[in-house]
Structures are given as C-alpha cells and as structure tokens.
Symmetry: none
Subunit: 193 residues, 4 copies
C-alpha cells in the first residue's frame, strides 16, 4: 500500500473536486487533506491545477468504470447489471454523506467553458463510459446503433439521477432509474424495437 505522493494527491483531488468542485478546492486544502508536501506540487503537476484536475477526473472515471465492469461481470445479465450499478451507486453516495457524486460531472459543469483541457477530458470520459456501456448492450444482443443510443440514454439518466439523489439526499432517483432501464433493456432483448 506504499502510495506515492502523486497518487495520494490525485486520489484526494478526485474526492475534493467531486464534493466541492474545482474552484472550491485549493492546493492548500489538497496538501492538508492528503498529507502531502507543499513543495512538490509543481514538481508532480507542472501543468498546474488544470493538470491535477485532468488527472483526478481520469482517475475517478477509471475507478468508476472498472467497478461497473465488475458489477456486470458478477451478474452475467445486462439488465441485472444495470440495476445493480444504479443501486450500488446510490449506496456509495449515501455512505459518503451524499458528498461523492460523479468524478466528471461536477468539474465538467464548472469548467467546460473555462478550460479546454478539462472540457476535452470530460467529453472523452463521458465518451468512454458510453462506449463501454454500448459494448455490453451489443454483446447482450442489441443491434449496434440501438446499443449506442441506449447507452447514451441510460448513462445520461444515470448522471441526472445521481445529481438528484445527491441534492435531495435520497436513493430514490437512482433506484427508479435503475429499475426502469433494466426493464427497458430486458424488453428490447426479448423483442427488438
């Protein structure tokens, strides 16, 4: 578990950016929370805070993606995987005191018009997420185009339900959406649209 300074910074940044946003998180807070040395900040992130932001967003997204893949692998069934994904997300959100939302969305909304690097990273991560999801749907038997559209639809609904859940401090939006799209996918697998 010998984490490097850089890794500690990225993980802490991911957590802080998710709960307080990009501008709401200062270097000072970061080094205090992550117990990392002040003087190495510029050494590890020569590109400044923006580079940290991109790294944290990528890190958070990868963790989320691999966790979702793990859930799909576990259930075997894509509809069940979807439902479990929404449910587990709700559970983790509540356990964090409704603080840890999406590693992409919070920073993306703040910075998409301010930083090209962060805008690009956000778009890329969203794209990767949709592709992963689309692959699962294709593998389950949906035609390529439908899988892609449904992935966009479901992932969008996931993001929105996550926001509602966080703001309203309730699992309900995520649970409802998970159930709805599990049913939608199951129905389409039985008789294609």
């Amino acid at each position: 578990m010998a984490e490097t300074t850089r890794e500690k910074m990225i993980e802490t940044a991911d957590r802080l950016f998710r709960s307080r946003g990009y501008h709401g998180t200062s270097w000072r807070t970061l080094v205090e929370e992550s117990r990392t040395p002040w003087g190495s900040v510029h050494h590890h992130f020569p590109g400044g805070k923006e580079e940290l932001g991109v790294a944290a967003m990528r890190h958070g997204a990868e963790v989320a993606f691999s966790y979702r893949e793990h859930l799909f692998d576990k259930t075997g069934s894509v509809p069940d995987g979807i439902r479990l994904w929404f449910e587990k997300t709700a559970e983790h959100l509540e356990r964090s005191g409704w603080q840890l939302g999406c590693p992409i969305a919070t920073v993306a909304l703040e910075m998409v018009n301010e930083s090209e690097a962060l805008a690009d990273a956000s778009a890329e991560m969203f794209g990767v997420s949709e592709e992963n999801l689309a692959r699962r749907l294709r593998t389950a038997g949906l035609p390529r185009a439908r899988a892609r559209d449904l992935a966009t639809l479901i992932f969008g609904a996931f993001e929105g339900a996550l926001i509602l859940a966080r703001v309203q401090r309730s699992r309900q939006p995520l649970l409802l959406a998970g159930k709805h799209f599990a049913a939608t996918v199951a129905a389409e697998l039985r008789r294609p649209v």
Copy 2:
C-alpha cells in the same frame, strides 16, 4: 424595460453561474457584465454572494418552469410536450454556444456541501420541478404514485442528458431522451403498468 439594478444583477448572475459556476463567477465580472454599480452589491444583497446565488437560481428555475408549462400548454398532449421540452432545450443550449446549462445543477453540484442556503434552494427547485411534471402526468391520466415516480425519472434523465449534451456539444442526448420518454409515457397512458 425599466429593469432595476437588482433585477439586472440577478439575471446576469443566472447566466454567469450557469456557464462558469458559482466560484468561477466573481462580483467584479458580474457588475461589469450587468453594467451595475459595484458599490451597491452589498446593499441589494446583504447576505452576500450566497444570497445572490439563491436569487439567481430561483429566477432561472422559474423562467425554465414557466417556459416548460408554456410548451405543455401549447401541445396539449403530454408525450408531445415532453418531446418538445427536450428538443427546445437542446436548441437553446446549442444557440447559447453550449454554455447555458441548468440554472440549478451547476451551482448545486459545486455548493451542495458548502452552503446550506444553496443546498436548500437546489433541493426545493428540483422538488418543484418534479411536482409540476407529476401534475401534468396525473392530469393526463396516470395514477398519482406512478406519476410521481415517472416525473422523478424523466426529470433526472433530462438533467443528465443536458449535462451530456453540453459537454459533448451535441443535441443527441436530449433528443434521444425526449423521444424515449415521450414513448414511455404514451405507452403507459394506453395500458397502465
């Protein structure tokens, strides 16, 4: 056109907060963009920036709600109203250069753990939006409980699709979601779940 200073500040703040976030928008920028006097901010908003944030969020939400009501009234049909709402939102988003997202979500994600006043206002505005939508669905014939759940589901999907659209600079997520939920509601109205 006799807009007061306070009104100009609120409208400009709504616009700026939506595109740059709360911390990304300074009083300085606000007074420059709104052509209002710097020295009067504390007079009009004794509660400081937080008070401005709440006022801007409420203003933006009310404008959005009444616009949505107008669309539903215009179409007469609830499924058509839903589709139109998503379509028009996509259109306005693109026209703003993909800048003007949700008047609630951007600030909410940043501030929900930092400011109780903004967290409360966000939750309240989301609640009002869901209630309005639920009322439409009830009026169209859906049972009370189903209308409420479907409203949460649809509004969540709307929020998420709006984020995806903004980040990916594409109308697609909103159009797909609008079409999907128009169909969902139409189906449920024909033969209840």
Copy 3:
C-alpha cells in the same frame, strides 16, 4: 426621557468608541445598536464620522467630569474625593464587563496623528479635566502652581491606571492609585511641599 435621534447616536457612539475604538466602530454598527435611522446620519452629522467622534468624545467627557464633580461635592474632602473617584471608576469599569474605558483616551491614541479635529478635542478635554482637578486642589488650599502640577500628575495616573485595570481586568491599579494620591494630597495639605 424622549431622547432625540442625535442624542441616541452620540451616546451609543460614545459607548462603542470607548470599547472598540474609532475605526472599529462603523456607522452600520452604530445605527443598529442605537436603533436610529440610517438615512439621518448625514443630516445630523454633516461633518461625517469625524464630527460624530468629536461629539461623542465631548459628551463622554462631560458626563465623566460632572460625575467626578458630584463625587467631590459629596465627600467635601478633596483626598476622600480623589479616592472615591478612583474607586467608583473601578466599580463602573468592572460592571461594564471591563469594556467602558476613558471616553477620550481610546480614540485619542488611535486618531491623534490622523485627525486634527479629534486631536484638538482630545487635548481640550484632557485640559479641561486637569483644570477642574486643579481648581479643587487650589480650593483645598494648595498653591496655584502646585495644584496645576499635581492635577496633571493625578489625572495622568488615573488614565494609566484605567488602562491597566481594563487590560488586566482588575480594580487593583485604580484602587492603588486612588489611595496613593489621596495620601499625597492629604500630606501636602498638612505641610506644603
């Protein structure tokens, strides 16, 4: 007891300036504490805060002087009057929560190099105080020159003891000084220096 707005402002200003200093007291605080209307500030004090400062200082000094005269009249004996003056001052200081020091000194130290009006008023009030005290000493039998010097000495010691008492939250400095100068004056009255 129908106090005018102006009077309420002056009395409150005297209290606030004494405990928080000149720059530490804002118009805003003043009108809130004195329950007086914002809009009349400039009407009652066209000379601005400086005019208020001078008025408050004069008011506080006059109250203090007439109270001291009252004590001297009550005791009849000058040495006893001196002791009582120091003792009562200590008592009032403690009762105010060690907040209400000299109505002149606090503002004078802050402003003597910043405002000519306040510097003049401070010097004048200190002068009046010494003269009053000197008159008492002359009347009791001390020669004119000695009375004047002793008044300066005693009043200076009073001011200093008041500061020590306030900062150390103890009556002791005032009680010691009162006792000392009561004895000094009594001795000089018995056999002139």
Copy 4:
C-alpha cells in the same frame, strides 16, 4: 543588517500600530512602508493581521523593557533610574513628532474587547513590565508586597503620563510623574511605609 522580511514587517508594524492604531494600519501601508513583498504576508503570518499585531506588540515591548533595564543599570540608583526612564521616554516621544507612544496601550485599548489574542498579549506584556519594575524595587530594599504595588502604581502613572504627553504634545506630564515617583521611592527606601 541582514534583516529578514518578517523582521522588517514586525518592526514597521510596531511603529505604525503605535502611531495609527491597529485598524488604522493596513497591510497595504505596512508593505509599502517596510518595502516588503505583498504576496508573502500570509506566508509569514498565517494567523493574519492578528498574529502580526501580537508579534509587533511583543517586539515593541521587549525593546522598551530592555531599554529601561539599560537605564536602571546605568544609573545604579532606582530613584534616579525611574526619573531617567520617564525623561528619556519624553525625549523620544517628542523626537518622533509625538507619534510613537506605548507599543502596548494603543492597540490594547482598541482591541482588548475584540481579539482574545491581542487582549492576552497586552495583559501579559503589562504584567511583565510590572514584574520587572517590582524586581528593581525589591532589589533596592522594598518589601515584596510593597514593591509589587508600587510597581503597578508607577507603571500605571507612566502609561497615563505618556498618553497625556502625546495628546498635549508636552513632556511635562512625564517629567512631573518621573520626579514624583523618584521622590516617593527614595522616601520609602529611607523609612519604609
């Protein structure tokens, strides 16, 4: 002459606080007068202006104390030391254009009810001053209790005379007080009270 930035700030702050008070001295003025970098203030004084205030007060007090000790050492006689102390203080005050008063009293009067840190530092510095003075009086032959009381009395008179001198732009209050207490101490050393 290798003064550090921090030292330059403290010395300049001591001078400015003494002549203009705490609130009357801004960081801006400080860095201009001390020729120190604006951007480093928070680095050197993480506790903000309050920390600077405490440091400046302690610095000024220590300089004053060691100067007074030097005077006592030089004269050998305690009564002569007292007189010299008051006289030299009057001289320095006049030379500074009646600007540099007590490094403790000016800030203390303003801040004793506003800042606990400054209130504590003021009380401590006054205490140290009285103790030093009491030690001199004990060493000269006065009994412990009398030395302590006399120290409080004399130091209080010193503070008050300093205020009067500064406001009236006259050495007289300090000279009179010095002479009086030199005589008082001399008399008590000859025949104890």
